[in-house]
């Protein structure tokens, strides 16, 4: 028995025991046959695929499991959320709209026209929109993995380069959206070309909500005066990831989430996993709201946020209990 075959026997153990007991010998036999004549790279790919499906099976994230179906429903929402958030940050928190004639109050460690290294994360997210719209699932997942890896890499990368990075809550929220996309299983019975409309429409709607939140605050229109320029000039970067537009933007997000949840409950008869999918997507958004409000005490806002979080946690807990019960029934068959 080759090392790859021995490894295959170990990798199969990643499957949940209930499935493994019945299929362990069968899967090991098939993978041994499949490994015959394959080079190291081929064998590595074969085992990686088996390990990925084993972990997915162990965690109950298969295409037929309730959690898998919920994540599959949440994935388009997560893509749209990440795209909208990235576009907002890129335009309102990163890009320097300031005319070159105005003095720059920021530290001199900007990256070209951008305030931080954040665009390295936002670019893969923005590319995810056409990828999702054209049904390019593998490309969408690759870009999600790239965005997550870049988010993680920014943490050690910023000190030596001297550049800034977006705050942790911004990177964390985008990483959670990306994890939802990556965790969503591929359904072999899904149509070859999915409906291209949801991702762009959802992203546009979310960006509209965020834009309303930003514009609702007068600080977007704040003007600056320069000694040598007689006319006032519109302020740039109203967000800068914090404070100025936090209140209306946070409120807009919370209101949009509540409306989204109500809409999902209305559609629950046709799409039973949609309400929980909206709640799953709400967790990263709650992180954004929390981050925007972290600098100031906003009791009412915090109360709404924690209510949403508790409701989401209670629903997720209930769903987990139901999934466990359903899994027991499946395993007993």
């Amino acid at each position: 028995m080759s090392a790859a075959e021995r490894l295959a026997g170990l990798v199969v153990r990643l499957y949940r025991p209930s499935a493994r007991d019945g299929r362990h010998a069968e899967i090991v036999s098939t993978v041994r046959d499949a490994l015959d004549g394959q080079g190291r790279m081929g064998a590595a790919r074969e085992l990686a695929d088996l390990a990925a499906h084993g972990v997915r099976h162990r965690m109950g994230l298969t295409a037929s499991s309730p959690a898998g179906r919920t994540l599959a429903a949440a994935a388009p929402l997560a893509v749209a959320s990440g795209v909208a958030l990235s576009a907002l940050f890129l335009l309102c928190a990163e890009w320097d709209w300031r005319p070159p004639t105005l003095p720059d109050p920021d530290p001199p460690n900007r990256i070209g026209p951008f305030a931080t290294l954040g665009p390295l994360v936002y670019l893969p997210w923005l590319l995810m929109l056409p990828a999702a719209a054209f049904g390019l699932r593998r490309l969408t997942r690759t870009l999600a993995a790239l965005a997550t890896a870049t988010s993680a890499a920014l943490l050690p990368l910023t000190p030596p380069t001297g550049a800034d990075r977006p705050p942790l809550w911004a990177l964390g929220a985008l990483a959670l959206f990306a994890l939802i996309v990556l965790a969503a299983p591929a359904d072999p019975l899904a149509p070859e070309r999915p409906d291209p409309r949801p991702a762009p429409l959802l992203a546009a709607a979310m960006l509209a909500v965020l834009t309303v939140g930003v514009f609702a605050d007068g600080s977007f229109w704040r003007v600056e005066h320069a000694p040598d320029i007689p006319d006032p000039i519109f302020m740039s970067r109203p967000l800068w990831y914090r404070y100025t537009a936090a209140a209306p933007l946070g409120t807009a997000i919370v209101v949009a989430l509540v409306i989204g949840l109500l809409a999902a409950l209305v559609l629950a008869r046709r799409h039973p996993t949609l309400p929980v999918a909206v709640l799953v997507t709400a967790f990263p958004w709650a992180m954004v709201v929390y981050g925007l409000n972290a600098a100031e005490s906003r009791p009412l806002h915090d109360a709404v946020l924690w209510t949403c979080l508790l409701a989401a946690a209670a629903t997720a807990g209930g769903a987990a209990v139901r999934m466990r019960a359903a899994r027991r029934v499946t395993d007993a068959r």
Partner: protein, 116 residues
């Protein structure tokens, strides 16, 4: 009228898997080889992907276990197409046939319209 043109197209690996089971029951590795042969080497299912797809197809009622045996120390479980699976594959074949017929009809028209 184009039969089934409005129905949603099935993913190619799923269609190939059902096609591989259309004539007789097959075990896992035979399915991998058969799908590779039918697709002229373009599609090679990996073991994890194969069993995930088979589990989904079984849950859908399109595929069922037809028997088990041990050959040369290797455990084989045979899978077969169910009646429902056969109907789905027949519909898919009709859809593809209609598409191909339409493509050929238009190509013939194109040939006529090209000036000599």
């Amino acid at each position: 009228m184009l039969v089934g043109m409005t129905s949603t197209a099935m993913q190619e690996p799923t269609r190939l898997l059902l096609t591989a089971l259309a004539d007789e029951p097959r075990h896992g590795y035979a399915l991998i080889k058969e799908v590779e042969a039918i697709s002229s080497g373009r599609v090679r299912l990996r073991t994890g992907t194969l069993y995930a797809a088979l589990a989904r197809l079984q849950e859908q009622g399109w595929v069922e276990v037809a028997g088990e045996e041990v050959v040369d120390g290797r455990h084989r479980r045979y899978y077969a197409l169910t009646g429902a699976g056969g109907e789905v594959l027949a519909d898919e074949a009709a859809r593809l046939r209609a598409q191909a017929a339409e493509a050929e009809r238009r190509l013939r028209l194109r040939g006529r319209s090209v000036p000599a």
